[in-house]
């Protein structure tokens, strides 16, 4: 996975003079949780992760790039029968498409903090635009620096062909992403 993402990240080399920082995602604090409405009654939740990948951020220049991979077999809803059902071809098709990717180069900053990250999410072999909004974001002052936050985004599972159970199990999927990265020291 890292090998596949590496060329994308190398292509992000910035013009001289910029001061980009590179962060490696901290697998202990990088997960994605999804939420789907179940019969308009309860919320079906599950988790993928840890996430692996890297982030380049240049707040002064208002630029950034994230490339991360989600190993789909890490799906965990707390109910093994449901996990097995969700992994089948008419839903997540985990055997056919073992990894999902998020690559995003369009970052919006406010007061030095990223507030919105837009890119392409690839799941089940289909790629759709996805915007993640920051609910909070910050950095600490340790060395190496740790930055992280909570992001939220929405997508329609039908746009990836994962249509089983519609509409009683909702089409709208809310993604809640916990992410922290450790600054890569040169």
């Amino acid at each position: 996975m890292r090998a596949r993402l590496a060329p994308l990240l190398l292509a992000a080399a910035l013009p001289a003079g910029a001061a980009p920082e590179v962060f490696d995602l901290d697998p202990a604090h990088s997960f994605v949780q999804f939420e789907v409405s179940h019969f308009d009654t309860s919320t079906l939740r599950g988790r993928f992760g840890p996430l692996h990948g890297e982030v380049m951020m240049d707040a002064a220049a208002g630029r950034g790039r994230v490339g991360l991979v989600i190993a789909m077999h890490t799906l965990d809803t707390g109910w093994k029968l449901l996990d097995a059902r969700l992994r089948k071809p008419d839903l997540l098709d985990v055997d056919g498409h073992p990894d999902a990717y998020f690559v995003a180069e369009r970052w919006r900053f406010d007061d030095g903090r990223p507030v919105e990250v837009t890119g392409e999410f690839t799941l089940r072999g289909s790629s759709v635009p996805l915007t993640l909004r920051a609910l909070r974001f910050g950095c600490n002052v340790d060395t190496p620096r740790r930055c992280g936050g909570d992001f939220v985004g929405e997508l329609l599972r039908s746009s990836f062909g994962a249509t089983f159970g519609l509409p009683l199990v909702g089409d709208k999927v809310t993604l809640r992403v916990q992410v922290e990265g450790l600054q890569r020291l040169r």
């Binding site: 604090h29 179940h38 009654t41 309860s42 600490n140 809640r176 922290e180």
Partner: protein, 191 residues
């Protein structure tokens, strides 16, 4: 025809009668989730995987109660080291939530209050509903009622201090998703 009409009338009258109905929690759609801030940066999402219980609800009279049990050693954050620390702090038994008061309005549960007891400790829980609904389950062929509830706690009130070891601060948000399947005569007692 007359018999059918009488039967339909009788069926229609059934649920309308002000009578308490018991619901057994469906463990595949009943989970206690929690959100815990980490290092002032991001939010850890965790969950207890094993929840059981039974709730009695009289939607007409607006009353009800029940008991929900959570297996503390089923805690699952996706991080084995943290799960082990939580099991050590919480114990491996049950957390029992006795619902003394169900606040119901217009047939919808709005809140559930009562004592939560675990490992000799006790803390009053006040869960507020974000959503409540009933539907007929095509799987169980029975009425299912449930919803989304939440409350915000100080982890210190639960005897949880993982700030030094794991950077986990306050507050702790509990998000309880619950669905209960209507029990009928002949069901084994779910208590």
């Amino acid at each position: 025809m007359r018999t059918l009409a009488a039967l339909l009338l009788a069926l229609a009258a059934g649920p309308a009668a002000a009578e308490p109905v018991s619901y057994r929690l469906d463990p595949s759609h009943s989970f206690v989730h929690f959100e815990w801030p980490h290092a002032g940066l991001s939010t850890l999402h965790g969950r207890f995987d094993k929840t059981a219980g039974r709730v009695t609800l009289d939607r007409e009279a607006g009353t009800g109660g029940g008991r929900i049990e959570v297996r503390l050693d089923s805690v699952n954050t996706g991080r084995p080291a943290l799960d082990a620390a939580l099991r050590q702090a919480l114990g491996a038994g049950l957390a029992v939530f006795d619902i003394d008061t169900l606040r119901v309005d217009g047939g919808r549960v709005l809140a559930a209050q009562g004592p939560l007891r675990w490992a000799g400790r006790q803390h009053t829980l006040d869960l507020q509903a974000q959503r409540f609904n009933c539907y007929t389950s095509p799987l169980f062929r029975r009425q299912v009622c449930g919803g989304e509830f939440s409350t915000t706690l100080d982890p210190a009130a639960l005897g949880l201090d993982l700030r030094a070891a794991f950077g986990l601060g306050a507050p702790l948000v509990l998000r309880v998703q619950v669905e209960g399947v209507r029990m009928e005569a002949g069901d084994e007692d779910g208590s």
